[in-house]
């Protein structure tokens, strides 16, 4: 086997290895080709939606608890604060997962 042929087989092996690795990543779902839109407006909108919906769910759950237990307005008040906390935590998580900064929160 001469030198040229040998190195070409090695290069071939390398490309085949990286192909296999890529397929394995795809199979496991470890590399994501698709991601959320990353425009400034899209991010702002996403964060806004996250805050509003967490608050909505918190208050909704609180009202439900009040309705079942008859504890109005205590359930709503407590769950409102939980909703606000969840909202802020979700924003923190979202911004952290955007990356780009050393203070980014670890991915969930």
């Amino acid at each position: 086997m001469d030198e040229g042929k040998f190195s070409s087989t090695l290069g071939d092996l390398e490309s085949r290895l990286s192909d296999a690795q890529k397929r394995e990543d795809v199979r496991k779902g470890t590399n994501q080709f698709y991601s959320m839109p990353t425009g400034a407006l899209a991010i702002a909108f996403r964060i806004g939606v996250e805050m509003v919906s967490a608050l909505l769910v918190g208050v909704g759950l609180g009202l439900l608890i009040d309705h079942v237990l008859g504890s109005a307005p205590l359930g709503m008040i407590i769950m409102f604060f939980f909703g606000a906390a969840a909202a802020l935590r979700n924003v923190y998580r979202t911004v952290g997962s955007l990356g780009g900064s050393s203070t980014a929160a670890p991915k969930e």
């Binding site: 795809v26 199979r27 779902g29 919906s53 967490a54 759950l61 939980f82 906390a85």
Partner: protein, 247 residues
């Protein structure tokens, strides 16, 4: 010239069962048109089953392969059985959003009850998948690894709220985007009429400006229609992965 008039639900065939109003409305009509187009595109497109696809078959294959790839890359190979579910979801939303761009049509995705029903369906499916696959272990989703036990009474309600938040944020995102966009189109279009009626000849000249903005907005709305259908589908696959892998 009410910009919200386009969102009115009009019964086409009134049907009342007892006190319940189950009329066939314009919303239902456009949902059926969306389903009809999707079925037609797939059945007609794949009719020939050619090895070298023609135009329609290419469209059908591209859409299908896009979703297969999306599911596989985001939810892993174990999520393969859910490709039909995700694909149906995507086609319905995409056609609903795009049908809304046809003049005089009705955008059913601009109603929060429609998008919320779809969001709840997604979360129900995801929760059932998680429960079937992991049993009671699924509830460890509500208590992240490594969190101190002392914080459990604080973290568990927060995680539960975050979980219930998913259908709400899914549906609010889609509905708000569609409704805001279509309202904006109508508002800018009505500026033209108002300028013309208010200022006469000068108004018609100045009215070119809102028309130019509207042209840009229509293009932007097409972008939003496709992106929001995609984002809804993307988040569905991410939630599916959460339920299947359960970190």
């Amino acid at each position: 010239m009410d910009p919200l008039h386009q969102f009115n639900i009009v019964p086409i065939i009134p049907i009342f069962i007892g006190t319940g109003n189950v009329s066939f409305t314009n919303s239902a009509l456009f949902m059926m048109i969306a389903v009809g187009i999707a079925v037609f595109l797939m059945v007609f497109g794949m009719r020939k089953r050619a090895l070298v696809p023609g135009r329609w078959q290419s469209v059908a294959e591209l859409l299908y392969e896009f979703i297969v790839k999306l599911v596989r890359t985001n939810a892993g190979i174990d999520a393969r059985p859910f490709v039909p579910f995700v694909f149906t979801l995507f086609m319905f939303l995409l056609l609903g959003n795009l049908l809304g761009m046809v003049p005089y049509s009705f955008t059913f995705t601009s109603h929060i009850i429609v998008t919320f029903a779809m969001g709840v369906t997604v979360i129900t499916v995801v929760t059932i998948v998680g429960l079937v696959k992991h049993g009671f272990h699924f509830f460890s989703l509500f208590m992240p690894h490594g969190a101190p036990l002392l914080l459990a009474p604080l973290i568990i309600p927060l995680e539960i709220i975050s979980y219930f938040m998913r259908p709400v944020s899914l549906s609010v995102r889609l509905f708000a985007n569609m409704m805001a966009g279509h309202t904006m189109l109508k508002v800018f279009a009505s500026f033209v009429i108002m300028l013309g009626a208010g200022l006469g000849g000068v108004g018609y000249v100045v009215g070119i400006l809102p028309i130019m903005i509207n042209v840009a907005l229509v293009a932007f709305e097409f972008l939003v229609a496709i992106i929001q259908a995609f984002v809804f589908t993307l988040l569905t696959t991410i939630y599916l992965r959460d339920a299947i892998e359960l970190h």
